[in-house]
Amino acid sequence: MRGPVLDTYREVITPEGVALQLPAAGPVPRAVAWGVDLVVRIALMFVISLLLGLLGKLGSGLTLIAAFLVQWGYMIVLEALWHGQTLGKRTMGLRVVLANGAPIGWPAAITRNLLRVVDMLPFAYAAGLLVSLVDPCARRLGDLAAGTLVVHAERRERSGQAPVNAVFVPPATLRPEEQAAIVAFGERAPRLTPERQAELADLAEPLTSARGPAGVLRLFGMANWLLGRR
């Protein structure tokens, strides 16, 4: 159907037989998200230890318990309860899902976060980074063992409508992907500068036999025709 595309989409076939595309997130946004979480956790521990410090020895015991919970539980609880997102992942627009695109539950959240210990080896997440560079979906070891995947959750904003002007019938029969490209141009071009529009439309000169603004208008016309406005 489609040629090979250079992309990090992972296609998952749902039980309904539709291919869901999960855009896997690479190591860099994930590392940034981890950094944000680290800052949050340190701040959290700072506040907790200040408050519990007032309680003396009982307080210092409770502080240690809190440190344990924050260290091991922060990621697990947030990912399991908050649709696979921690605070850091939310700021970076990431989300953890199961390999089949379903939300992660407790066992998967626990597995992938416990195994962080191994991904951290020998220092600074080197093992996790190496594995995620090799894996096509950029999964680290913990992800592999838990059967999870980190994806970009935020979709790009929806593009506008194609401007309605004249309708222009394409001079030749177009293949489906060519039709899709022209329609996509019609919908996205209004967000580009006139110069860029013209530059792109010039690529289709053999079809429109016009350059510059005239070519742009003809392409818009063809998009309208393909969209069924006549």
């Binding site: 037989g17 407790w106 626990i110 059967g147 992907e177």
Partner: protein
């Protein structure tokens, strides 16, 4: 059909579904409120399937990304709602602890026995060795640690097993330290099991060195009475965590009639559930260690009796727990 007509025809259906996703998709939020939208909750799966069909139509007809992305978004969110994992229930958690966990441990009996041998052999071996060659303690520990240890288990100490710190403080310390070690013992099994083996053997050696040396110099009484109680939970938990790590490595090495990835995922899930039990056991151990084991005024006889009860309780739990029930491991996860 042209794209515009297609969109116009289904527009209403799609916005209804989007409204439903906004207002009803979050189970917790939707619980209290009534469904006032056009689309009923029970009609949602059907609508979801219709949209799935429309997406594949749109893709095949080469409609623009604008349409397919919107459909794809709706499907993705619908998928998240339809296939989400059921919420955790307290009853299920209790059932897991009483029946599911012991059954899980027994299902990996071989790894557990191997872990036990890896842990207990160096422990006992070094304990016995140090009875005859006590100077060998310096091969395992530096003098500062030895002195600290001697002081902690000094028979004249009012609190056994610590040089400073109150009960609560030590409770917190034990939780952070011991559960952390337990979880790491499991996780390092991902290194083809080698990590778990190293942790088990080295822990066995260190504990053996402490036991052997202190017994030899005559601090055996406080030490054994201190350890015997919480050891029932702590030592077994370490062995189970090691076993969980070993089975992870083993399934990775020898996946059998599955793909390696599949085997790893299954072993990982199993290990995570074992870890939940291990964490619980270590929590109990930390409690006993902080508030019971350290009391020096209790006569040894009482300590040993309580320890006997605890040990037989733990072993009976692991051996018999969940045997009389129908095996429903599948839906326990």
């Amino acid at each position: 059909m042209r794209q515009e007509q297609f969109v116009a025809r289904h527009q209403r259906e799609w916005s209804e579904f989007e409204i439903w996703l906004h207002t009803r998709a979050d189970a917790r939020r939707a619980q209290g409120a009534r469904n006032t939208g056009v689309l009923g909750d029970d009609a949602m799966p059907q609508r979801y399937r219709r949209i799935a069909q429309q997406l594949s139509l749109a893709r095949r007809r080469g409609y623009s990304p604008q349409v397919t992305t919107r459909l794809q978004d709706m499907l993705e969110q619908g998928h998240q709602v339809l296939y989400r994992t059921p919420p955790v229930r307290w009853r299920a958690a209790l059932e897991f602890l009483m029946a599911g966990f012991p059954r899980l441990v027994r299902s990996e009996a071989l790894c557990m026995w191997v872990a036990l041998v890896l842990f207990a052999l160096p422990l006992v071996g070094i304990t016995v060795l140090l009875q005859y060659r006590p100077e060998l303690i310096h091969a395992f520990m530096d003098p500062v640690q030895v002195a600290q240890m001697e002081q902690m288990y000094d028979p004249s100490n009012p609190r056994i097993g610590r040089d400073s710190g109150g009960d609560w403080q030590m409770f917190g310390y034990y939780i952070m330290n011991n559960i952390g070690i337990g979880l790491q013992t499991f996780a390092s099994g991902l290194l083809v099991g080698v990590g778990s083996i190293v942790v088990l053997v080295s822990n066995g050696m260190t504990i053996g060195a402490v036991f052997g040396y202190l017994t030899q110099i005559g601090s055996g009484g406080p030490l054994w009475s201190f350890v015997c109680g919480h050891g029932a939970f702590e030592l077994t938990a370490i062995v189970i965590a090691g076993g969980a790590g070993l089975q992870l490595g083993l399934h990775w090495l020898a996946p059998g009639r599955r793909t390696r990835g599949q085997a790893l995922v299954e072993a990982g899930m199993k290990g995570a559930r074992l870890c939940m039990g291990v964490a619980f056991m270590l929590l109990v151990a930390a409690f006993i260690e902080a508030f019971w084991s350290s009391i020096a005024s209790v006569p040894y006889l009482v300590k040993y009796t309580v320890a006997g009860v605890l040990w037989s309780g733990v072993l009976a739990w692991l051996w018999r727990g969940g045997r009389n029930r129908v095996d429903k491991d599948g839906d326990a996860r």
